[in-house]
Symmetry: C2
Subunit: 273 residues, 2 copies
């Protein structure tokens, strides 16, 4: 939906035409393999002779934003999925414009309103804190739109408490799904859903991810379902996803009650009323 023209790596794309700076003469991304890779891209572009045309977009990926979402939930998957060949990622909300996170600190632009999006190949619903999740679960315009998109998606996905919103839209009835660790009890007791404590869970064309950062793992898995393992492996390298968490504290099943309480307190205190 956002037209984009491929740029030739040998052509400076910055407004400045100066070639006196060393940075203007050399690509900053290269390394041993980069020269041949970039040469291959240039050859492809010359061969197909459409360098000035908008890139084709065969895969429309829509990410729902709503007031109070958690920032990494939509942006981690957007980073990954935007690298798929011929894919376009669009942020969608009730109205166009900036949509603020749970902390109130950051806003991502919604470039399309719900009314402007009729059909998506991939839908992703992010999670939020209590306030944002609860409001979205009661928002009939959002639930109706999710249900309508889902009828034609190839993949309907969620991150964190986004699965509660899919459930509120009626999409998870009788299914297995995951969610944020602190929402698992709520998911199972409120809906006809079997909670599965895995990083991501596929049920038919629905893929749910665990909390916040799990969206990165889920979206790489999704990339492999869409474009094959080789492309997904290359995307993982492109975002240098070789995680080395400084602590071994991210798994709620192994965390002490005290650490869980502290985690939830930090979330609550950082949330914007």
């Amino acid at each position: 939906m956002t037209p984009s023209t491929p740029s030739s790596p040998s052509t400076p794309t910055t407004p400045s035409s100066s070639r006196t700076s060393s940075t203007a003469r050399r690509a900053v991304l290269r390394g041993a393999a980069a020269a041949s890779a970039l040469a291959a891209v240039a050859a492809t572009q010359t061969g197909t002779a459409h360098a000035a045309q908008p890139r084709r977009r065969d895969l429309d990926i829509g990410i729902l934003l709503y007031d109070g979402y958690s920032l990494l939930d939509p942006t981690g998957p957007a980073e990954v999925l935007s690298r798929l060949p011929d894919a376009a990622v669009t942020m969608v909300a009730e109205r166009r414009g900036p949509v603020r996170t749970d902390t109130g600190d950051v806003a991502v632009m919604a470039d399309r309103s719900l009314a402007e999006v009729d059909r998506l190949d991939v839908l992703l619903v992010p999670g939020a804190g209590n306030r944002g999740t609860t409001a979205a679960m009661k928002n009939e315009r959002i639930l109706e739109w999710i249900g309508r998109m889902h009828r034609h998606t190839r993949w309907t996905t969620s991150v964190c408490t986004g699965s509660l919103i899919l459930a509120a839209a009626g999409l998870l009835d009788g299914r297995r799904a995951t969610t944020y660790w602190a929402s698992a009890e709520y998911l199972e007791s409120t809906f006809d859903v079997t909670y599965v404590p895995e990083r991501y869970v596929r049920s038919g064309k629905i893929v749910t991810a665990a909390g916040v950062s799990a969206g990165v793992d889920m979206s790489l898995h999704l990339a492999s379902l869409i474009a094959g393992e080789r492309i997904a492996q290359a995307i993982q390298l492109a975002v240098e996803y070789d995680p080395q968490p400084p602590f071994d504290s991210g798994n709620a099943a192994e965390a002490s009650p005290e650490l869980k309480a502290l985690a939830l307190r930090l979330l609550e205190e950082s949330s914007h009323g």
Copy 2:
């Protein structure tokens, strides 16, 4: 900088006053430890009796946005660092308003202009593709501002090719640093910097991270330097960072030349103009 009022978890904060819905009566985040955690928060708020006042912000964290940054570079660390007690994360750019990523698909709002930010406790400079990195490295307003902020920061940090921008601002002279795998050669050959192929590298008060997703690891480490290991461990649990990448392909040192070439081609083809 963004005023925020803590919300009591027992008070519905959604516009609807309906209590007929089961979702209105119960917090969606709880689990075994959540009830006591939330009770503790409520008690703290009652005790200090300032629930309606803006939260104190003792730690000003500024993240630079510039045209063509990679989305996860600023947003991963923002998710983590915004959970630090009494911290405020602000997106800063040359001008206020939406700033687009390298793919052109997504824009994050800059809530402050460079001219509006005089001092920061923590500065983070994200990375970008060739076009965005090269332009930022030549942008004297950005380089001057980075240098000025750095004089008073507690921590000056970067993700991915953001270290090239720190280097262009003269901050890395004689130091050890890391960067995106495909920029390592460029960093060492262009600046007086020793490249260290680690996930994040600390040199005095400067902390550089490797590519894109490494910002999450770096910012958790930074959280421990700022607030102690216990808080950082709790933040890691709060964002459920127990990574399970679907492939073992994120480390460039172990990747084949072909996979590196494919990764760089996907980056180039997904990049806007």
